[in-house]
């Protein structure tokens, strides 16, 4: 299994370390503990979304609605606490449930109507965002636009242990759990099976539909968690919250070695992918790269990262082939 990790994202790990070292060398601020904890806080929500996104992509699908789900969950909890005055420990579970429901809707539409995941999640992305606007407490009661969430339980979500932010801890836990699910549970095997060869999975008696729905449920749940973290950090939930996150999440996943054709990938790469993007931007910011030059450099590095990863994989594949050959030769030898 360890071999698998390396195979997935060794190239990326190396690349990431190089980037970090370069920035640390060039910018004294970058190498401060404070800055790193900023990085970890600032991009953990993208990391969580990316982990969630991994599951639909593993099935050769995609979930464009994560940003909208994030907004919806945020707004729900916001309303629950500020309109209905419910305590956080009630709002939080409800928020998670909303995320799961949203995921369920995606899953059911894809499975039952046999529609293309891209279209379905694109449509639900619009619908969920519309719902956010419709239920927005900030629209219904303009006073709430300047009202902050005060609930202690809720605000505690985004706390930190010294320099270690909770957000990071959630991310690590989620990444590890999902990693375990993927590589050590039946669900995980079924996910890879359906993603790799759906027909074979079906003939082997795997309940394909259930697996698909599960994937979108997980993605929905991750969005919900990210929503809780962000809204707790912002002490409110703007209607626009989460717009454009889907692209960052997918990007992080793909950079993290999840194959968009489905069937291969894991959940540690995506986390790294999320931080890679964040690190690049923060680093350039600290180096005083002008704001418009930043996306240019970022884009180049992005392509570079994937190119490098590709290169490493290619080399690894060649090595494997060579080994395979030797084996088969030995086999033939023994055969006689």
């Amino acid at each position: 299994m360890l071999k698998k990790i390396n195979y997935q994202s060794f190239g990326l790990v190396g690349f990431y370390l190089v980037i970090v070292i370069i920035f640390s060398a060039l910018s004294p601020v970058f190498r401060t503990a404070g800055n790193f904890s900023n990085l970890l806080i600032g991009f953990s929500h993208i990391g969580i979304l990316a982990v969630g996104q991994t599951f639909p992509i593993l099935l050769g699908g995609i979930d464009l609605s994560v940003g909208a789900i994030l907004g919806l969950v945020g707004m729900t909890t916001f309303d629950l606490m500020l309109i209905f005055g419910l305590p956080g420990y009630i709002a939080i579970p409800i928020g998670l449930v909303v995320g799961l429901l949203a995921g369920l809707i995606n899953g059911l539409l894809i499975v039952r109507l046999k529609l293309n995941p891209f279209i379905v999640s694109l449509a639900t992305m619009a619908s969920f965002r519309g719902l956010v606007y419709a239920i927005s407490g900030r629209q219904l009661f303009p006073g709430l636009t300047v009202m902050a969430i005060k609930d202690p339980t809720y605000l505690a979500i985004d706390g930190s242990l010294g320099h270690v932010p909770y957000a990071l801890i959630y991310l690590i836990i989620i990444a590890l759990i999902t990693y375990f699910i993927l590589h050590n549970t039946k669900l995980g095997m079924d996910l890879y099976a359906v993603g790799g060869n759906e027909n074979a999975a079906r003939l082997a008696g795997v309940n394909v539909n259930r697996v698909k729905i599960a994937a979108y449920l997980i993605s929905g749940l991750c969005s919900a968690i990210a929503a809780l973290i962000l809204t707790s950090r912002m002490t409110t939930s703007p209607e626009g919250l989460g717009i454009g996150f889907e692209l960052s999440a997918i990007a992080a996943a793909v950079i993290g070695g999840v194959n968009m054709q489905g069937g291969s990938g894991s959940t540690l790469g995506p986390v790294l992918g999320a931080f890679l993007i964040g690190t690049i931007y923060t680093g350039m910011n600290l180096l005083g790269v002008t704001q418009y030059a930043q996306p240019v450099v970022a884009g180049i590095i992005l392509i570079g990262a994937v190119g490098y990863d590709q290169f490493m994989k290619e080399r690894r594949r060649k090595e494997l082939q060579a080994q395979l050959l030797l084996q088969s030769l030995r086999m033939k030898g023994q055969g006689g």
Partner: protein
């Protein structure tokens, strides 16, 4: 060079302009930041001189919502003032329209230990915690356009709510107090949008109760989308006598439609912001009017304040509440648009 001369004369013409402009608040605001004014008109007299006494350099960061005409103009205003002081390092960073990103940028600026943060919050509450954090770190924060509930150094605002009310008033008068109005709006999510819409609706109720708002559709701040939405509404055969674009781009989109359907003159179209293009369109008798604010000036004021705070070594923690500087604005129409000088057109 002559650019500079113009700018210098700015100081003079501005005063006249302020007389025209309705709000005394603005004058008060200017007075409030008097100490900074020399630096403000510094371009003419060598800024280098004035910044001699400063020992080390000062860092200033502007966290904007996203690249946009207005924030660009702010930037120009700020740099105009800060550039003349060799010891000021100014940079503008892009919040990519996302409060979460803005929070990250704030955090970075704080750990970078800048001396001043200009912040245009995408959402007043969302950025509150970061502003609090900055204050705790002793960094004065100057908010632009959108105030934050947390105490910070100062808030420099181009008015939204009252401005929109006045727009409604002026618009109604041109419409003769009756008819149907369409609002070309933006989707919820940025507070400005809410302030302006509410102001406009309230204004109409207050001043012209007979005018009906028959449609409030989203054109996503975008000129092309504004064209599409308005032409669709017109195609439905409804009679539209007035259009309010929540920003100038959308208003200009409406103008484009009016031109093609030759409704210019028959349809009252108002924008908001007062960018150069809008003012020219007014002079060309296309756009009926817009709310104009000198955004360059707004930037200069903010910068002047900032320099005062930084060089004066005033600690952020010493502010119990932010001072409000409400920028003066005019409802620019055919009659008064001429009084807005070239150097005030951003």
């Amino acid at each position: 060079m002559d650019e500079k001369v113009k700018r210098e004369s700015a100081g003079f013409n501005r005063r006249e302009f302020l007389k025209i402009s309705a709000l005394g608040v603005g004058a008060a605001a200017l007075a409030a930041c008097a100490p900074a004014t020399p630096a403000d008109v510094a371009p003419a007299e060598g800024g280098a001189q004035s910044s001699k006494q400063a020992k080390d350099s000062y860092k200033m960061t502007f966290v904007q919502v996203q690249p946009h005409t207005v924030s660009v103009a702010w930037g120009q205003g700020i740099e105009e003032v800060s550039n003349v002081q060799t010891n000021i390092e100014y940079k503008q960073v892009d919040g990519q329209g996302d409060p979460a990103t803005q929070i990250n940028l704030m955090d970075t600026a704080i750990s970078e230990g800048v001396d001043i943060i200009f912040c245009q919050p995408a959402d007043s509450v969302a950025l509150g915690p970061s502003i609090k954090k900055a204050r705790a770190a002793g960094i004065p924060v100057i908010t632009l356009n959108i105030d934050a509930p947390e105490a910070h150094a100062a808030h420099v605002e181009m008015n939204h709510y009252f401005g929109a009310i006045d727009i409604a008033k002026a618009m109604g008068e041109l419409m003769g107090g009756k008819g149907n109005v369409v609002i070309l709006n933006a989707p919820p999510g940025i507070i400005i949008r809410d302030m302006r819409t509410n102001g406009f609706v309230d204004g109409m109720k207050k001043h012209h109760p007979d005018i009906k708002i028959i449609a409030d559709q989203s054109a996503e701040w975008d000129r092309k989308k504004a064209q599409d939405v308005l032409s669709t509404i017109l195609a439905s055969g409804k009679e539209v006598n007035g259009v309010y674009g929540v920003n100038d781009s959308m208003a200009l989109g409406a103008v484009d439609v009016a031109k093609t359907k030759d409704l210019i003159g028959k349809m009252v179209i108002f924008g908001n912001d007062g960018e150069k293009a809008a003012l020219e369109s007014i002079e060309a008798d296309e756009l009926s009017g817009t709310q104009y604010t000198d955004v360059w000036q707004q930037g200069r004021l903010a910068a002047a304040l900032a320099i005062g705070l930084a060089t004066g070594g005033i600690s952020a923690t010493s502010f119990t509440n932010q001072g409000h500087i409400l920028m003066p604005y005019v409802i620019a129409t055919k009659d008064n648009v001429g009084s807005i000088q070239a150097f005030q057109r951003w």
